[in-house]
Symmetry: C2
Subunit: 592 residues, 2 copies
């Protein structure tokens, strides 16, 4: 059975040695000294390890069941949610005005990684609720906020996001769900939504559905979409629960993974709904919370890679099979631990260098969100807008790849349910799809984020890389292993970006055919930058005579591996990118 070892030491290294959050001038960060964050991370890590992780295989095995409209979640899920609720974890980064803890995103993301790693399916229930909280916090009326937010923050009530319909996933312009205005100012919502995560469950007294629908007579396509609150139970003026609303779960999806989360067909049969924000501006309201939601999915991808790596590493240190080619390393045993074999190490180093680099990247993005939200810093907002599709797309594509690689370390055991490695693979697979497929992330990156403000934010990213290179050019320890490869990879990224600048609008298919490669190129350079920063931080700690030197030495070696073996992928992505649209578009549709 898999276990979970919280990476609290590594998170502290990222937060304090690398990002130095305690020194940053972001309001609220002054609290985040190392003893404070340690206390939070240690406590969260214990819950992840002792409460959430043991339920992960249970959720996978039992799944959810639907009977007479009632969804039952797996054994123990409800009690685990109680633990999170009682500890205030469901509102960790929520507004204190509604009962939240008011912590910055950077800390909530660090905690979120551990919770998701331990049990991704379970954490989606509070995750979706948090999404509903964010949308209402940004766009709800004061009365709506008063009514709903405190209950969502505490997870007394759950929340959901209802976008997809059978005929429309990515293309929301095709939505058919109808919202008929009523005399009392409410709407009657009629339609079917599918793939609604946590759409119905037994863990909260009420569920607040946020539903995209069209008010008849409104504009065509995405410009005619509005956002509605549809509570499962009507809420009376005094806040107590009234009648059941005309919304029900019509079915549960059978799926590859995240079995512990109920993926529901939701039927709205003239349900009472309340408009959120302005009519026809629903999509904008939904997109408000997109940054955080997409960062959250990127962290999910990373989290499954992290727990998969951690378990594969333990397996490789324990399982004996064959002998090291350079001579027995455990002669007292019938064979050596498989960690001695270079190919097993290669796989583990791929995983480790991705996980630790990705962790730093995600937390850097989270710190930019904090800067943007808490300081109204438009540059931070612009930069993080650019990075978010990379965080989501790269960390989930590579997170899946790392989980598959971790599974491979086990040999045949990795294919059996017993060891748990295959569950991480099945669970993390969804992260490449939902909250916008990774193809959509790439499209968002090249068509929207890159050209935004005349390319200003991409320039800002390149400036960060350049400044780092310049600032450290005299550092001989960093030069060959970190600075030179980063410089070369960054040039590949700039070369690709120039193609967009020069041809983007004239040849849209070229941009779109190369979008996924561009996203990966960007991801590799981002991780290269994070590794260079971490190597510098580790070197500084060693130079300062740090007591426990293992983690710093390990950081430098792991970073070297990443820049030597992963970062050169930028040249391949650039090469593919430069082939343009022709090879991709050459075939007529019928020839596929």
């Amino acid at each position: 059975m898999p276990s979970y070892t919280p990476p609290t030491r590594d998170l502290a290294f990222v937060l304090h040695d690398t990002l130095k959050i305690h020194e940053a001038d972001v309001p609220g960060y002054d609290e985040l000294d190392q003893s404070f964050t340690s206390a939070i991370l240690d406590e969260a890590g214990k819950i992840a390890r002792d409460v959430l992780a043991p339920l992960n295989p249970v959720g996978d095995r039992e799944g959810c069941t639907l009977k007479n409209g009632v969804v039952r979640t797996p054994t123990g899920f409800r009690a685990a949610i109680d633990t999170l609720r009682d500890g205030g974890w469901t509102g960790l980064d929520c507004d204190p005005a509604y009962g939240g803890q008011g912590m910055p995103n950077v800390l909530a993301s660090a905690v979120g990684e551990m919770f998701s790693a331990a049990n991704m399916a379970l954490m989606m229930y509070p995750g979706l609720t948090h999404g509903a909280y964010s949308a209402l916090h940004a766009h709800g009326s004061d009365a709506q906020k008063e009514t709903y937010l405190p209950k969502l923050v505490s997870f007394e009530w759950g929340g959901t996001m209802n976008l997809t319909e059978p005929q429309c996933g990515t293309d929301l312009g095709l939505i058919r769900t109808k919202a008929d205005p009523q005399d009392d100012g409410s709407y009657r919502i009629t339609g079917q939504k599918i793939w609604i995560s946590a759409g119905e469950h037994d863990m909260a007294d009420n569920i607040i559905h946020l539903v995209l629908a069209k008010i008849p007579g409104g504009p065509e396509g995405v410009k005619g979409i509005s956002l509605f609150i549809v509570p499962k139970f009507m809420v009376k003026d005094d806040g107590s629960l009234g009648d059941r609303n005309a919304v029900s779960c019509g079915g549960l999806e059978s799926k590859m993974g995240i079995h512990g989360n109920a993926t529901c067909v939701m039927n709205y049969d003239g349900a009472t709904g309340y408009l959120v924000g302005e009519a026809h501006k629903g999509l904008r309201a939904m997109f408000t919370m997109m940054h955080e939601a997409r960062l959250g999915v990127g962290v999910q991808g990373l989290s499954q890679a992290a727990v998969a790596y951690e378990n594969a590493r333990a397996f490789a240190q324990d399982r004996v099979q064959g002998r090291a080619v350079t001579g027995a390393e455990a002669p007292e045993k019938p064979a050596d631990p498989i960690l001695v074999h270079p190919d097993v190490r290669r796989m583990l180093m791929d995983q480790k260098s991705f996980v630790e680099g990705g962790r730093a990247f995600a937390l850097w993005a989270a710190s930019l969100i904090d800067r943007s939200h808490r300081m109204d810093d438009a540059d931070a907002e612009g930069l993080v807008s650019l990075l978010i599709p990379v965080v989501k797309g790269f960390l989930t594509d590579k997170g899946f790849e790392a989980a598959v690689s971790a599974q491979q370390v086990y040999g045949g055991s990795g294919y059996t349910t017993e060891w748990g490695a295959e569950q991480f693979v099945r669970d993390v697979r969804i992260a490449m799809v939902y909250e916008g497929t990774n193809g959509i992330q790439a499209l968002d990156l090249v068509a929207r984020k890159l050209p935004a403000d005349a390319g200003k934010h991409a320039m800002a990213f390149f400036e960060i890389v350049k400044a780092f290179l310049k600032e450290n050019e005299g550092d001989a320890a960093l030069k060959a292993d970190f600075l030179d490869p980063l410089k070369s990879a960054s040039k590949d990224l700039q070369a690709a970006a120039m193609v967009f600048v020069q041809h983007g609008m004239k040849a849209p298919n070229t941009a779109l055919a190369g979008a996924a490669d561009f996203l990966h190129l960007f991801g590799h350079v981002s991780l290269g930058l994070m590794w260079a920063r971490m190597a510098k931080a580790a070197g500084a700690a060693l130079a300062a005579g740090a007591e426990a030197t293992d983690i710093y030495r390990s950081k430098i070696a792991t970073g070297r591996f990443n820049l030597a073996r992963q970062l050169p992928a930028t040249a391949l992505h650039l090469k593919r990118f430069e082939t343009g649209a022709e090879p991709v578009m050459a075939l007529v549709a019928a020839a596929f």
Copy 2:
């Protein structure tokens, strides 16, 4: 629900236009004119499509059950096996002396791809039986052959291969199963075997287990392993079945995929066994059939990619979502089919170019096996020995990747059980693990096959590439898109091979740390070569005024895509390879 469209036209293109098997001087190939192979492929394709494919989701859903020692296979599996048995398909390439059809491997592999694509889990039952047939055919005594082979050929009896034990997978030297000699010349077999595919089932009257065990007092390690026949029911002298032998299924493995195949714990409690071949030479007997078995697993990888691609393509042509960026292509519909989007095409072209290139590669290898077996051609034997780990490792790694990419085309639907895309991913995943993990394939390639006969077979491969380039150097149509990139990629492969020649023995960790990259490098060049050959064949057909030109034009465009966008991966693999062992081995074991 997924469907299966047999690629009979494409198989014919590989067999006849590209490999020109009907012109080859291999005994038995003279029969293989296009009308003959068409008849076989059409018939096999119909069985795959109509009999096997509909049972694929059934097998996944129902799985196998064990009750009172009896394993029940999924609904319909037994009837499907009857169809295969009645049509003589289970003995397609078996020796006519024992009731087989005597067809060459190249044709059996083409048929095998279709059968595996349609239902991989089901086809493992005859697949394992075929493995037992091959081992006994090569190493059994005449009496053993007479007794067992006709029944295995017809699948009246099933067969299994018993290697793995709880403490030993890859490292067979650790085997503990014991074979005590008896006065009558038989042995008493005692021990536990795990992960025995098709170890127990309800589809055959008897099951012939081939079991690796150690005769007490024999040499230590792999040199003391012998091979035994252990029938489920004892076979009387007249060939009729006698008492039940002391072998039983102690449990079924719960696993990620291939649910329709029973993966058994097999308990041998003093079961009667018969030595096959010489004592202590069991491993050699097992390895005899390794080429064919590993080719078969490579074909499994390819087959799942093929059926996954085929279904993803159909989805992309049908599902409408969004509009082409260059203007609506289906203005009469609410949106365009998603095939118009460059990123969707990119994914489909990745899959298509892998599937068609991989198919040609596998069938080329199969034709070399035929040449080796039927002509005692030592050069063919040497070359195919070198290629087999590439076929197995590359076609299963990339086959998995292609199945994941196909799943991605569906968006959210790909994650649901309903559409079947996720089953292909789960099923094909095992092919990267069994019959020697892909890490073992890479090790076999660099440590055994590459240096064999002083590197003669690798040189032969390079000569084939060089001869092709030379022979076609005046062909302007091939030059830029095929010859130049192939030449460049082949140079990368030669550069890596030179490192082995120069440093291989002195720095074994360098070779082993780079083994997986070398295997992939080799795989890319092999597919590049096959694509160049196919492009030439397609060009020749067009020049000769072929009537149906679509397939030929599609071949050239798909090949161009492969060489432009996939083949350049050789440079990345070479670069990784050249970093050597240091980055991989730098961390101390405790730092993982």
